[in-house]
């Protein structure tokens, strides 16, 4: 019997009557009012997610940059202090141990924000190869992380716009916060990191500003509408970055773990590709459903914005072109679907 971990905001979620579920060893809010209203609040205004279950690792030292450059797939030479980068930690087969964001705090000091379920795996693989002069520490328990996302998020928080994948220290109603211009919804927004003891006060201030609490249910439908992969569903240790469409985050001209395998897949061309698709009629695709021709659904849901079933899955390359008709086995019924371009949901301009 494993005891579920709780974030510093657990009591706040209970007070809001959130429905709590077990996720990656954590007891997390899956919804407050409902997935659909929370999803729509983020698309039209602003919502806040407690993502304090995510892991935070610090890598520090004169060789920290050199060390991470040899471990992570993307090119950290392109990141200045104050900048951040989406990147992958890969294994020797080119498989994905985790996808994460690296924040360059100082020339020789990085913060890595990793998936909750991979916190230990990332820590262990980094520790295994740690160089003298690059100290790896798990600081997850010291911090809380709130993602505030939506077209009115900055206005509601009183923050100025800034380029995405940057960060700065800032202040919100007297609380000192690290303001990260990152997110997982496809909307404008920030991720606010604070010491764990400030979490409840920050949460209260954010809600007072009219931001709607949103749970993991909406987080999943939002990310899937914009085709952000979810580790454990769409990517994992047995899937490679090229087939997953993450070649853009893989600097194949530098050396990192598994790069030879990724170069080979890139050169030969992948056997299958991760593609987004929409259902043509009824039916909601779900993880694990078969796609006729040898494919498999890795994520599926009902899109609140498109009001139809959407998903992502691996299909043979011959079926990967946008427009290709697919057939998904929805509990014994063959349901027509079509490969589309990313993102599935295109944000309304203006």
């Amino acid at each position: 019997m494993q005891t579920l971990r709780r974030t510093p905001l657990y009591e706040r979620h209970r007070a809001l009557n959130a429905r709590m579920v077990s996720f990656a060893g954590w007891e997390m809010p899956v919804q407050y009012e409902g997935v659909i209203p929370e999803h729509k609040a983020v698309r039209s205004d602003a919502g806040v997610f407690d993502v304090s279950h995510m892991g935070e690792l610090e890598v520090e030292g004169p060789r920290a940059h050199e060390f991470l450059q040899s471990m992570l797939s993307n090119d950290l030479d392109k990141v200045e202090p104050g900048g951040a980068q989406y990147t992958l930690l890969t294994n020797g087969r080119g498989g994905i141990i985790d996808d994460l964001i690296a924040y360059r705090l100082e020339p020789g000091r990085y913060l890595l924000i990793v998936n909750a379920s991979n916190r230990e795996a990332v820590y262990e693989s980094l520790k295994e190869r740690e160089l003298s002069g690059s100290d790896v520490r798990d600081v997850s328990d010291d911090y809380a992380l709130l993602a505030v996302q939506g077209p009115r998020s900055l206005e509601r928080l009183g923050l100025d716009a800034a380029p995405s994948f940057t960060f700065a220290m800032g202040e919100l109603d007297g609380i000192e916060v690290m303001v990260n211009r990152t997110g997982y919804t496809g909307e404008q927004g920030v991720e606010l990191m604070v010491p764990a003891e400030d979490a409840e006060e920050l949460w209260d201030r954010v809600l007072e500003r009219g931001v709607v609490p949103a749970g993991l249910g909406a987080r999943d439908t939002l990310r899937l509408e914009v085709c952000f992969p979810l580790h454990g569903n769409d990517i994992g240790p047995d899937t490679d970055a090229i087939s997953a469409g993450l070649g853009w985050a893989s600097a194949l001209d530098k050396d990192f773990t598994g790069v030879e395998e990724l170069r080979r897949i890139k050169q030969e061309g992948p056997q299958r590709k991760l593609v987004p698709f929409e259902m043509e009629g009824a039916g909601i695709p779900r993880q694990g459903m078969a796609i006729a021709g040898g494919g498999e659904v890795t994520s599926g849901t009902h899109s609140p914005m498109l009001d139809k079933g959407i998903g992502m899955g691996y299909v043979p390359v011959a079926q990967a072109e946008p427009g290709t008709e697919l057939s998904v086995d929805v509990r014994g019924r063959e349901r027509p679907a079509r490969v589309v371009t990313k993102p599935i949901y295109k944000r309304q301009e203006g």
Binding site: V30, Q31, G34, V35, I36, G217, T221, A282, G283, I284, R286, T301, H302, P304, D307, R331
Partner: protein, 131 residues
């Protein structure tokens, strides 16, 4: 808007969270407040064909929310006379009014005596208390 929790006295219940309103030799079937609350906002209802046979204790359709899909279990046996098209078109009707506009099918009973095995509201509440 989601409905308030309730278990009316004028209908009969099945422990798989389904209800039947018996009207002579016909019955209207649906899912309980507890079932719709556990699923969340419904986004899809897969009904049986009109004329199909439904059998007590076995699935006759599916209801699906953003997060989950669930079989709908027949509390009582019969032949499908009518499917609620309003729920096919707007599945959230079940969340709004699970015992009224959110009914799922109307059947002609093949064995009206089966009704005696259904639970009344008090007995169904005891089932819920054990969940």
């Amino acid at each position: 808007m989601a409905a308030e929790e309730s278990y009316p006295d004028d209908i009969r219940y099945h422990r798989e969270h389904d209800w039947a309103r018996i009207e002579g030799d016909e019955a209207v079937l649906g899912i309980t407040w507890y079932a719709q609350d556990a699923l969340g906002e419904l986004v899809h209802y897969e009904p049986p064909e009109q004329g199909a046979t439904v059998s007590r204790g076995t699935p006759y359709g599916e209801v699906e929310s953003v997060k989950a899909v669930s079989d709908v279990i027949a509390p009582i046996s019969g032949e499908v006379l009518e499917v609620n098209k309003a729920v096919v078109d707007a599945p959230e009707t079940v969340n709004e009014d699970p015992y009224g506009n959110g009914w799922l099918i109307r059947i002609r009973l093949s064995d009206p005596a089966e009704a005696e095995q259904l639970l009344d509201a008090a007995a169904y509440r005891e089932v819920l208390a054990e969940q």
